[in-house]
């Protein structure tokens, strides 16, 4: 269109008074220059605006308590850095990983997202995660008050793929009132599985309440604990780390027995617990809940009454300690993120800012910065003092953490759950279950 008009214009020029049209031409040029300048200025200001306004996507999983706290910290961050706007995305554990997978497939990962030990290997090996070591080295993430031991959980193949958001360990959370009512003494860290069963029986008899919803953590974590006590790992590279199927068979049989005696809640009831808020301990139907130590904060908020912490039982003549301390979760930065500087700024704020941590209040686990820990100490609630003390206490009752789970672990874990429920419904015997699990797990791990 443009071309046609100017051709006509030139044609007209020749046939009419040149001077007038020379004038018009000049005018046109002036207009053009003015327009060009306008455009340049506006595009510059656009660039300036873009530099000013960064939109950062931050994603995490958790319970309502965590969502509230994290959102409050985000608000604080936005006040301090008005040029950064944060778009929060949050969900429960299951939906979270499905969404992250879909976003990873679309090369659309959030700039900052919460990361778990069992996915660290998978995502880092696919170049999805930015190496944070340069930022630690440059001081963009201030590690003055953070020891190397606290950071090392996020290291893999010489790179730092996540900043630990808090330290964690498996724990038993109990209701002191129920223990008192049953006349049971609270067990110390030296108690054994036999004590565990004995106390459970007493509680059931004296109060009619369940001892626990299920084994500590969930079936996988509890069995993992037992394996460690017997000197095995769950995985040895990409295959199962134990040879004796009797270990699993016995553990399945024990679970079956505990449910039959009403010491554990029935399978149907257990399956309905999908968040901390509807845990049987919180609802006053069970004497204990077994979870990760950071969950005590959410749990006592939901229960709204004093709760206590106990260690996991030891095994008689155990080879090594079953308990271990692990990074509860990390913040990772997506390799695709266009705003890595801002992402790191947020992580630094999240890790080191005292005010922010007063809001977060160690809900993700004991903070890694010693300065933050000191600052929090005077304000800690009872639940948090418990958590801090627990992690100090179990120092002598832990052994080092196993390497991250291999790819395929989620599927293996699900196969274990399936077999567990088949055994509990009497479809197969514990022995068959143990054998079948080995077949399934081997097949899954081999196909990865």
């Amino acid at each position: 269109m443009e071309v046609v008009i100017s051709e006509e214009f030139r044609f007209d020029c020749g046939s009419l008074n040149n001077q007038i049209f020379g004038e018009v031409f000049r005018l046109k040029r002036t207009i053009l220059v003015v327009l060009l300048v306008c455009m340049l200025v506006s595009s510059f200001s656009l660039v300036a605006l873009a530099q000013e306004k960064i939109v950062l996507r931050v994603s995490w999983w958790g319970s309502q308590g965590r969502h509230d706290r994290t959102l409050a910290v985000i608000e604080l961050f936005e006040q301090k850095y008005p040029h950064i706007t944060i778009e929060p995305e949050f969900a429960g554990w299951d939906n979270y990983w499905e969404r992250i997978a879909a976003q990873a497939a679309g090369r659309n990962l959030p700039d900052v997202f919460q990361q778990d030990m069992q996915y660290l290997d998978l995502y880092s090996s696919r170049n999805m995660l930015a190496d944070l070591q340069p930022y630690v080295a440059s001081g963009a993430i201030d590690t003055t008050y953070i020891s190397e031991a606290e950071l090392s959980g996020g290291r893999l193949n010489g790179k730092l793929y996540g900043i630990n958001l808090g330290s964690n360990a498996l724990v038993g959370i109990y209701d002191p009132e129920i223990f008192a009512k049953a006349g049971v003494e609270v067990p110390g860290p030296e108690w054994t599985w036999d004590d565990y069963i004995e106390i459970g029986k007493t509680i059931k008899e004296k109060t009619g309440l369940y001892w626990a919803t299920q084994f500590p953590g969930n079936f996988f974590h509890a069995f993992h604990h037992v394996l460690r006590q017997n000197g095995y790992q769950f995985y040895d590279g990409p295959k199962l780390g134990y040879d004796d199927d009797k270990l699993l068979a016995d553990f399945l049989a024990l679970e079956l027995e505990l449910i039959e005696q009403g010491i554990f809640a029935p399978y149907a009831l257990r399956e309905e617990v999908s968040s901390v808020e509807d845990d049987l301990l919180v609802k006053g139907q069970a004497a204990t809940a077994w979870a990760w130590s950071n969950q005590i904060v959410a749990m006592s908020a939901a229960a709204n009454r004093p709760l206590g912490l106990i260690t996991l039982p030891k095994a008689k003549d155990q080879v090594k300690e079953g308990l271990y301390i692990k990074p509860s979760m990390f913040f990772s930065v997506a390799e695709t993120s266009p705003h890595k500087e801002a992402a790191v700024l947020f992580i630094d704020f999240f890790t080191n800012d005292i005010e922010a941590n007063k809001i977060l209040f160690a809900e993700r686990g004991v903070p890694i910065s010693s300065k933050v820990r000191e600052a929090l100490a005077p304000d800690l609630t009872e639940a948090q003092i418990l958590m801090f003390d627990y992690l100090n206490l179990i120092g002598d009752h832990t052994s080092p953490i196993d390497p991250p789970e291999p790819a395929g672990h989620p599927e293996v874990n699900r196969a274990l759950d399936d077999i567990d429920s088949m055994v509990l419904h009497g479809v197969i015997s514990p022995e068959e279950g143990a054998k079948r699990f080995r077949q399934e797990a081997t097949r899954i791990l081999r196909s990865m």
Binding site: A101, A268, E271, A407
Partner: protein
Amino acid sequence: MEKNPSLAPAKPVPRKLRKGKKFKNRNNLAGYIFISPWLVGFLMFTIIPMLWSLYLSFTKYDILSSPRWVGLMNYETMFKYDYLFPQSLKVTFQYAFTAVPLRLLFALILALLLSQKRRGVGLYRTLFYVPSVFGGSIAVAVMWRQLFGVNGALNSILMALGVIEEGIGWLTGPNTAIWTLVALAVWQFGSPMLIFLAGLKQISFSLYEAAMIDGASSWQKLIYITLPMLSPIIFFNFLVQMINGFMMFTQALIITNGGPFNRTLMYVLYIYRKGFTDYSMGYASALAWIMLVIIGILTAIIFKTSSYWVFYETGEGK
């Protein structure tokens, strides 16, 4: 067509050629332009992704890195080693072959009742349609969970009536879980009901009139007039609902999440899990193609047998 010359192709066509064959082509082109919004969408969002998934089904693809060609390995695993593949097929067939006929039966009975000319029948039609409006939603699925929970409404009612003494875990019982899903499906009979209602209105009153003169009972009228005349609609509903049944997903995910031990593992849920939880997108694609083949075969069977039971007024029973 000619009334709207602005939609003619941009290139001017010489006057001589405007008649005859070329004119017809021009007309076709206009037609294609008219359907182009749909066509582009169909190509972009259906055909290309489908072909892409066919390619993926021969690869190992974990979403995070690029796909790797493995030939028929996915299909081999499926038929030889993966016990969840036959299990999910079994569950899906069980669901589709119970939920769909029951839903259609319900829809038909209610359509027959609501086709009568009574006062306030419009209100009833609306009321019965309501569950279908939000039936597929997450909210209803969550409500269903509550309803059938151990401490849920159903158990409370049954306990109050003294039918049972202890709460039953409907959703976690290996033999009851799937029926809660079937019940939800039956409850959403609204859309086939509306189609049946429309179909019933199409049946000429003269047929009933003639039958009345011959002294037919209402049962005979139903069997010999209504059902045969309605059979094309039944056929249509059956086909559409069957395909829907095989694609059932949301409710299985929210209400039972495939449990207990895969007794409600719907095929599409399994595909989803493989793809998005286990990051085996190649295998998930292979599963999806098998589903396509199964639905294709099933549709063909329904079409083939339709000549035996579907009556078309115009086509001499064909």
